[in-house]
């Protein structure tokens, strides 16, 4: 039996007012099952990043609801949303967004530490092996290549075993070889940990690796399911 992990209902996001009004998302609804690997594709300005940010709980919708693991995340207050985010959502950005003063290992374990949870050494080592970063664990972000930095940020997203991992153009800043590695890594975690992943990309080749593609155009879902 498949289990629904994410449901988006009538999501609308409007920026600005009057003449400067921009509708970034217009009545978007869809759902994702546990263990699915979904790619969201669309042109620049189509609203895909906005959608991802709203699902990830870092931006608020104008209207509509987002259920993750059965809970409407926008019913939560700011602090509870932050806690929900660190336990249930893993975010991966195009520009990695690592904390420059922390090394690889510290960056990866940061969400656990924020939650005052013990780091399971074995699990961490396993993850580092999966990411291919065992020999880099004590390096600072500026001592790493782009691909290595992105792998670190994937590690940070996976360490908490979140309900969903959201990746915003994870390969946008990388060369082809590094891009392939990252996609392979995401697929591997999807298979091995049954990890739900939603990935934004404008690269159709990469999108094809996903189980399902959702296409967005002018804030609306064009081709889906």
């Amino acid at each position: 039996m498949t289990m629904e992990i994410l449901r988006v209902e009538n999501l609308t996001k409007v920026y600005g007012k009057g003449s400067t009004k921009v509708v970034a998302l217009d009545q978007v609804s869809f759902s994702v099952n546990k263990g699915e690997f979904v790619a969201i594709v669309g042109a620049s300005g189509s609203g895909k990043s906005t959608l991802l940010h709203i699902i990830g709980g870092v931006d608020r919708p104008t209207k509509g609801k987002v259920y993750i693991a059965g809970e409407n995340i926008y019913d939560l207050n700011d602090d509870n949303l932050a806690i929900f985010r660190r336990r249930q959502v893993g975010l991966i950005y195009q520009f990695y967004n690592l904390i420059p003063i922390l090394n690889v290992e510290e960056n990866i374990t940061l969400p656990l530490e924020l939650d005052n949870r013990k780091v399971d050494k074995e699990q961490l080592n396993e993850l580092l092996t999966l990411l291919g970063l065992e020999s880099r664990r004590k390096h600072l972000p500026n001592q790493l290549s782009g691909g290595q930095q992105q792998r670190t940020s994937i590690g940070r997203a996976l360490i908490t075993h979140p309900a969903i991992v959201l990746a915003d153009e994870p390969t946008g800043n990388l060369d082809t070889k590094a891009s392939d590695e990252i996609v392979a890594l995401l697929k591997k975690s999807n298979k091995e940990y049954n990890q739900t992943i939603i990935m934004i990309t404008h690269n159709l080749e990469i999108a094809k690796e996903a189980d399902r593609i959702i296409q967005i155009e002018d804030g609306k879902i064009k081709v889906g399911d």
Partner: protein
């Protein structure tokens, strides 16, 4: 270690420049608070020591106190020490025709009491027992051979009474034929010491004290019982208990039953202050307030900047699920780390500053003050506690604000790099003037300032505060110097002698001393009771003059057992005379031609208005040419007035009476019986003249104005060292602050600059834009800073105006100086930072995502 603590610590270590900037701010402000408080406590300590030496270590002196009451005092836990002074009596001695012909004898319980009450020995020792005696300097000077240490003197000691047998004490003046000494006993003493005159014991100075245990008999009354309290701050409660009635701050400080050591209480409990002290406290309070406000702003700015720099990091932390509380804690923790290092260093620095300042002051003052008044550098707990508390509060408040800002950073804004540039959508019109004067660079600069006000707010605020502090402190400096200067005007004489001789010829002997040639002699009436020109026709008085006479005539109504007052019906002008030569000189100065038997009327009475300002008012309606008619020594007397003036002759510049002065020539009015009163001398070498006269005539009271002026100059120097030191530190804080804000503001805009250059802005255009921005916001800061500075300087003026009568002065010089300094400083800092930024590659900067 918790991950957040780790991030705080790493942040501090990796952003060394910023951390050091903040640290310097914390150190400077803590040091300033500590130094100000430390100086205050050092001064307080010194003043207490001086007062103890001067007045003795007691808080209340109880008169005619019974031995029985002393027993209860001994059981009072609030009391630290009791000294009992008993009166032995009076003894006749040869006083060379001066009055009174008595020597006043006392006894103290122990040698320790002499020290405790600070009787200061000139020579010898305090008496060990009742056979030994310490005598006052006055007595010694009468006959140095007879009263020298080691001599034995035999005295007939008795009790002073009226002829009716009523006991008299030191407060009753000597009445030659109306009093007697009774119950005389013969006593022999060995003189063991000579001490300074103590006019509290007897205003005539002839005093001897021996050491004898007080009587144990409960019915005896002690002359005075001196009580020292354990905790002077609780004086109200302690005095109430001792006196048996409620004592409050408003109770009289001196009655028949007791008198307080108000000087000591003033410095120990900060009570019974006069207006000078309250003015001082007002000014010090304003100064401390300025320090605290400036420090808070400076430190807050540093935190603000570091938060802005790291806002991206806080956004990332938030996006991976750090709560607001966690981020706040992180920022505050950074502040506490810095406080932990900065506050102790600041306190050390503060005490070092106090130590250096105190030593400089002592060095400058060493010629003018006795060893007792040397300021001690005291390290007490109060300034440390104050600095720690204020330091922590300052750091906490400053970091709190920044922490709130950090926790408000929304993850989406930081991800998109939007946080600090919130541009309002409303249309922005660039004034035609700016477009005309400054082409493209100016327009961009103007838009920059208008659209991202927030970016500049910190810089503008720190500039405004620096200008404000500089301008208002300059006024503080100005008024302080003005205050010290008004106390010592330039007189055209430097020695003033108050005559105790009634015989003019004896005084002329004094004026034979070499160096006294240029002198003026002022005479007063020999009739101490009727020595005024009494005017009964009150129509010649102004309404103010009439007001002065209201309720002046008071008498005791026995039937009603109360004092009653009524209006005085006579106005009294004090008659004074000058030796003719000086009088003619005086007339010439006043431009008076008529020199025959005329008089000059000094008619200006100084009153303090409710606002605290001193103004002068006239008492009489007389004008030049009028004749003043009245009675003098019960005889009618008319004196024509040749001029009414406020220009006073030498010697009475600062004396005022209820009826003004009438100055005549002694030669013209010899029949009025004048006696010498004051001599003013303009001597070449004042100290030599004073020394010589003192040797020959030790009984004369002499003031050396040169000495006063010299010590005044030293005081001025000290005040300037303090104030300039203070201004330097405040300016340093300001400069640190400005440096911090400007460099970080420019560094944060690196990407924006790189973009402008990448689209083809030349270096010249770019520099032009930056310069214009600088001019725009410096001008804004100057206008605001000047307004606040003027308000601040006016507040300081008001604090001073309580005491002195001078008008407000606009600190133009300070404003101009701060304007020049601000522009120079800002341009230098801008140039320095831009040079560093310009070295970086454009594309690298644009691409730089992870700062």
């Amino acid at each position: 270690m918790n991950i957040l603590n780790k991030i705080s610590k790493k942040n501090l270590l990796l952003n060394k420049k910023r951390s050091i900037g903040t640290l310097i701010g914390i150190i400077l402000s803590t040091a300033l608070i500590c130094a100000t408080a430390g100086l205050l406590t050092s001064f307080q300590h010194t003043l207490i020591q001086v007062t103890l030496k001067d007045r003795g270590n007691y808080h209340i002196a109880l008169s005619e106190y019974s031995a029985k009451q002393v027993d209860t005092l001994e059981n009072n836990r609030d009391i630290a020490a009791i000294d009992i002074l008993d009166e032995i009596g009076y003894a006749e001695y040869d006083n060379q025709n001066e009055v009174p012909p008595y020597l006043h004898l006392y006894s103290l319980a122990s040698q320790k009491s002499f020290e405790h009450l600070s009787y200061s020995l000139i020579k010898g020792n305090f008496p060990k027992d009742q056979t030994e005696l310490v005598i006052s300097e006055d007595l010694y000077l009468i006959d140095k051979d007879k009263y020298k240490i080691g001599n034995k003197i035999t005295l007939e000691v008795g009790i002073r009474t009226t002829l009716d047998g009523e006991k008299l004490n030191e407060n009753n003046p000597y009445q030659e034929n109306d009093e007697q000494l009774i119950d005389k006993t013969t006593r022999e003493f060995t003189i063991v010491g000579i001490m300074e005159n103590n006019y509290e014991l007897d205003s005539y100075g002839g005093v001897g004290i021996t050491t004898a245990l007080p009587s144990e008999d409960e019915s005896t009354y002690h002359h005075t019982v001196y009580v020292e309290l354990k905790n002077p701050k609780d004086y109200e409660q302690s005095f109430s208990e001792i006196l048996g009635t409620t004592f409050t701050e408003d109770s009289p400080v001196s009655t028949d039953e007791y008198h307080l050591n108000t000087e000591l209480l003033r410095w120990q409990a900060f009570k019974f202050s006069d207006s000078t002290v309250s003015m001082l406290f007002t000014v010090v309070a304003i100064v401390i307030l300025i320090i605290v406000v400036t420090s808070i702003f400076c430190i807050k700015n540093s935190f603000d900047i570091s938060v802005t720099e790291k806002s991206r990091m806080y956004g990332m932390l938030a996006s991976i699920g750090a709560t607001k509380k966690q981020i706040k804690k992180n920022v505050i923790l950074e502040g506490l780390f810095l406080a932990l290092i900065g506050i102790p260093l600041g306190i050390l620095g503060g005490f070092l500053a106090v130590f250096v300042l105190v030593n400089i002051v002592n060095f400058l003052l060493k010629d003018f003050i006795s060893d007792e008044a040397v300021i001690e550098c005291t390290v007490s707990l109060a300034p440390i506690l104050l600095s720690v508390v204020l330091g922590i509060i300052t750091v906490y408040l400053s970091s709190m604000k920044a922490a709130k800002k950090a926790s408000r950073v929304s993850p989406i804004e930081s991800i998109r790099n939007l946080s600090d540039v919130k541009i309002t959508s409303r249309k922005l019109k660039v004034p035609k003037l700016i477009q005309k004067i400054f082409p493209i660079g100016g327009v961009i600069a103007y838009k920059n300032l208008k659209r991202s006000k927030k970016k500049y707010r910190t810089t503008v605020i720190s500039l405004v505060i620096s200008i404000f502090v500089f301008v208002s402190l300059n006024s503080f400096l100005h008024y302080t110097f003005k205050t010290t200067n008004t106390y010592y005007k330039d007189y055209d004489y430097n020695v003033l002698i108050t005559s105790t001789f009634e015989d003019k010829n004896k005084l002329l002997e004094v004026l034979n001393t070499p160096g006294t040639e240029d002198y003026t002699l002022l005479y007063e009436s020999s009739y101490t009771v009727n020595g005024y020109l009494e005017i009964t026709d009150l129509s010649n008085l102004t309404s103010f003059g009439k007001d002065l006479l209201k309720d002046k005539l008071c008498f005791y109504d026995e039937t009603k057992d109360e004092y009653a007052c009524q209006d005085e019906t006579v106005s009294r002008i004090t008659l004074m005379a000058m030796d003719d030569e000086a009088y003619q000189e005086y007339l010439k100065e006043l431009n008076v031609k008529d020199t025959s038997k005329t008089a000059i009327l000094l008619d200006n009475y100084a009153v303090e208005e409710e606002t605290g300002k001193r103004i002068e008012k006239r008492i009489y309606r007389y004008e030049a040419g009028d004749t003043i008619t009245g009675t003098y020594n019960q005889q009618p007397l008319s004196i024509p007035v040749s001029k009414v003036t406020t220009a006073r002759p030498r010697g009475i510049e600062n004396s005022y009476t209820d009826g003004g002065y009438l100055i005549v020539s002694e030669k013209d009015y010899r029949n009025l019986n004048f006696v010498p009163y004051l001599v003013t001398i303009n001597a070449e070498d004042a100290s030599q003249v004073v020394q010589e006269i003192k040797n020959q005539f030790p009984e004369l009271y002499i003031v050396n104005f040169d000495q006063n002026a010299k010590s005044d100059k030293a005081v001025n120097q000290i005040v300037s060292i303090f104030l300039y030191g203070f201004i330097t530190v405040i300016t340093l804080i300001g400069v640190t602050n400005i440096f911090n804000t400007i460099t970080s503001n420019l560094e944060l805009r690196q990407r924006e600059f790189a973009t402008l250059k990448s689209i083809g802005m030349t270096k010249k255009e770019f520099d032009h834009m930056i310069n214009l921005e600088t001019i725009f916001y410096c001008t804004k800061a100057l206008v605001l800073g000047t307004i606040f500075g003027i308000i601040g300087s006016y507040a300081i003026y008001l604090a001073y105006a309580k005491k002195l009568d001078f008008g407000y002065y606009l600190p133009v010089k300070a404003i101009l100086l701060s304007a020049i300094a601000i522009f120079l400083l800002v341009f230098i800092i801008m140039k320095y930072t831009m040079k560093r930024i310009n070295k970086q590659n454009i594309i690298d900067t644009i691409r730089k995502e992870n700062i």
